[in-house]
Amino acid sequence: MSSTLTAPSPGTSAPQMPRVHYLNVDYGVKSWLFTTDHKRIAIMYLVVATLFFALGGTFAGLMRLQLLTPHSHLVQAETYNKLFTMHGVTMIFFFLIPSIPAVLGNFLIPMMIGARDLAFPRLNLASWYIYVIGGLFTITAAATGGVDTGWTFYTPYSSIYANTNVVLTVVGIFITGFSSILTGLNFIVTVHKMRAPGMTWGRLPLFVWAHYATSLIFILGTPVLAITLVLVGLERVFRIGVFDPALGGDPLLFQHLFWFYSHPAVYIMILPGMGVISEVVACFARKRVYGYPFVAASSLAIAVLGFLVWGHHMFVSGQSMYAGMVFSLLSMLVAIPSAIKVFNWTATLYKGSVSFQAPMLYCFGFIGLFTIGGLTGLFLATLGIDVHVHDTYFVIAHFHYIMVGGAIMAYMSGLHFWWPKMTGRLYPEGWARLAALIIFIGFNLTFFPQFILGYLGMPRRYAFYPPEFQVLNVLSTAGASILGVGYLIPLVYLIWSMRYGKPAGPNPWSAKGLEWQTTSPPPTDNFIEPLVVEEAYAYAPYTPEDRKRAKHE
């Protein structure tokens, strides 16, 4: 079907859209709902994840409005509790976990390793359906009364005392977990079996390395969450005593099981973002990523160590003091691979050729905010400090620096970087830079005051608060409104660009990955011409011409 395609002729000044590509090869709803093309499935993930992001963002906006005054009457305490629960559930399970892997990973992993599709294309489509069905359960739970346990579902509150839609929500998360497991499986098999000749492990893009590490967590961690949620359901519906001491259970057991998954899940959310940043830094500095083997290995180190630190969520829970000490020590160690990455990204700029298009601006935002998020993580890993700031706004600020300042910044960076590849068109650069700036400012104004609030002692999950905390809360709400505007702008211009954007051509950034060696948008089978497999960061003088030039010099 790709025989009619014409390769773009290099040197043409105005790039043209290819005549046939994966987006126009077929039309109609069915051609999307029954597709097995990883690129189309990625687009479908993009649409659904964006809807969930909008939903979760709306919940957050209402929470910030409520917190504008100490005793707001905007919503009742019960409603506020449902808002923060649904905000956490949608953002974590239905946006952050699938966003980069299922959208960008799905689109790019086969292209980056020179494959025509993932190893199991139909399983990939099944993953999307499972994700959507799980999402429908959770949306139904939200629409028919909501759930108020917090996204952490601590027992025995969730299993016995809550009067809200716990079971329906838990079923939704349980179902969606299988989507993660299948996606992880698909990625691992694809990376092992589908690499083009010459694409050795040492040449693998760091984006793929990061997703490989993420996939390991998907398949090793998610089943534990599924089991835990089933146990909550059993205790709630059949009063089988697992977690409630009144029924002979152990409430701390739940926390151990929950965090055994949910701490590694934090790395599920940030590792793919780190992969994006490695690609973007290399392209916009025109340099091989500094310390490639260290950056690649640090992804795996994070995936492994991430499974050994869950108890740092439980320093004040009543677990043994010595367990707390062991978990504190291990949590310090898991910070090291993240630090290695930040240092290597920074070093990549050294003697590079740095340009400042929107993906790179988001990337700078990521490195800066992730650095702050990571350093404040050390405060939380320190036992003496965590006792004071645990369950306060300090924790909220810390993980939003990682999840929003880190993961979502990286997602925006990647979305802009590969948007020309996905749609074949360029987004308006000026607007994109403006949005990046607005998001950066809005983000810091929203979340930096929360560090101070937390150390002052404002507990999280409070619908009302003592009046001395108001000024910092007002700043935070003001920042949130700026942040909201910042996210709306890309939504508008990205949609606009799908129709009106200038054709991008195969490689608008002069990037070096395999995905840039084909047309934009790519054909259904991804590649027309035989691939030239180099390492992913063959910025000069690794290209053939540069090699020649290097010899002459």
Partner: protein, 317 residues
């Protein structure tokens, strides 16, 4: 007295200065590394900005020494953070032996406190200045968490078991007391005040409420008689069941060969669920008290049993 924009919490306990010093240390480290990264990013971004579309920077081969430096230096610093933090944590887990004991029963959505002399309070806790106070805490329903920001202490309060926190107030005043573990619809209203008073004022406050108060030891002794504990544990032959004098804080050998320390958690379990741990040399004949006693009753019984041990030898888990 309230400042318009507070930036730092009040400091009103012995441990709070230590926690703050640790915080300053980590802020210094964090500021150094953040400044280092931001400066390098800025300098590199400006100095090596793209000047022409055709420029091709030379590749740089990695440097193992540099990688080792930025792996080992952070590792050493985080180990210092760990050790310092663990030291503070260790102190927080070990109350002085002469600490005065207040019991805490949490429920949706209130805090119930009882002074060692029996005075009960709800959502308010009076403590004397300069004296270590140990809180023995449990919950009637879900998990709560007692948090006093001015003291920099926090501990979850669990149903079905005891947890402990301690502090020694250093400044008279009134300080917030929060529930920091989400516990249901009125979680944000589960807040109260800690009143730190000069010892003389505290004594005056206690005696003002003495008329209606019975000490936990006295209530416990009355319960001990009323529930019939006394018939076996005191009146019957000593072979029938273990004596309770000088039991608290001592190791107990079980039929399983294990040895456990007879702390409050052990005493609680042995009252509520006597079959769980049987002392070596005895039969499992004690009836269960599951569901028959309020948390306050159990705490009173434990206070009585503890009063049978000489205070000098009291040790804390």
């Amino acid at each position: 007295m309230q400042r318009w924009l507070p930036l730092f919490p009040e400091r009103a306990s012995t441990i709070s200065a230590q926690v703050d010093h640790l915080l300053y240390f980590e802020i210094a480290i964090a500021a150094f590394f953040a400044a280092l990264i931001f400066t390098l990013l800025l300098v590199f971004a400006v100095k090596y900005r793209r000047r022409s579309e055709t420029e091709r920077p030379r590749p740089i081969v990695g440097d193992l020494r540099l990688e080792l430096v930025w792996t080992l230096v952070p590792m050493v610093l985080t180990m210092v953070m760990f050790a310092w933090g663990a030291d503070v944590f260790f102190q927080e887990a070990h109350p002085p032996r002469d600490a005065m004991e207040v019991t805490v029963v949490a429920k949706q959505w209130m805090w119930k406190f009882q002074q060692p002399t029996g005075q009960r309070e709800i959502n308010a806790l009076h403590v004397p200045l300069g004296r270590p106070v140990r809180l023995l805490m449990t919950s009637e329903d879900v998990i709560h968490s007692l948090f006093i920001p001015a003291f920099r202490v926090k501990k979850d309060v669990l149903p079905g078991r005891y947890t402990m926190l301690w502090f020694q107030a250093t400044r008279p005043g009134t300080y917030h007391l929060f529930c920091s573990q989400y516990c249901g619809s009125q979680h944000a209203s589960m807040i109260g005040w800690v009143y730190v008073q000069e010892p003389s004022q505290y004594e005056a406050w206690l005696s003002g409420r003495r008329a209606t108060s019975v000490s936990p030891v006295a209530s416990g002794r009355a319960l001990f008689e009323r529930l019939g504990c006394i018939t076996c544990h005191v009146q019957a032959a000593p072979q029938r069941c273990p004596r309770l004098e000088s039991l608290y804080g001592k190791p107990v050998k079980l039929t399983t060969g294990q040895t456990v320390i007879a702390d409050e958690g052990y005493l609680r379990e042995s009252i509520i669920d006597p079959q769980a741990k049987i002392v070596a040399g005895y039969q499992a004949v004690m009836p269960t008290y599951t569901g028959q006693l309020k948390e306050e009753d159990v705490l009173d019984l434990i206070a009585y049993i503890k009063s049978l041990s000489p205070p000098a030898e009291e040790s804390t888990p």
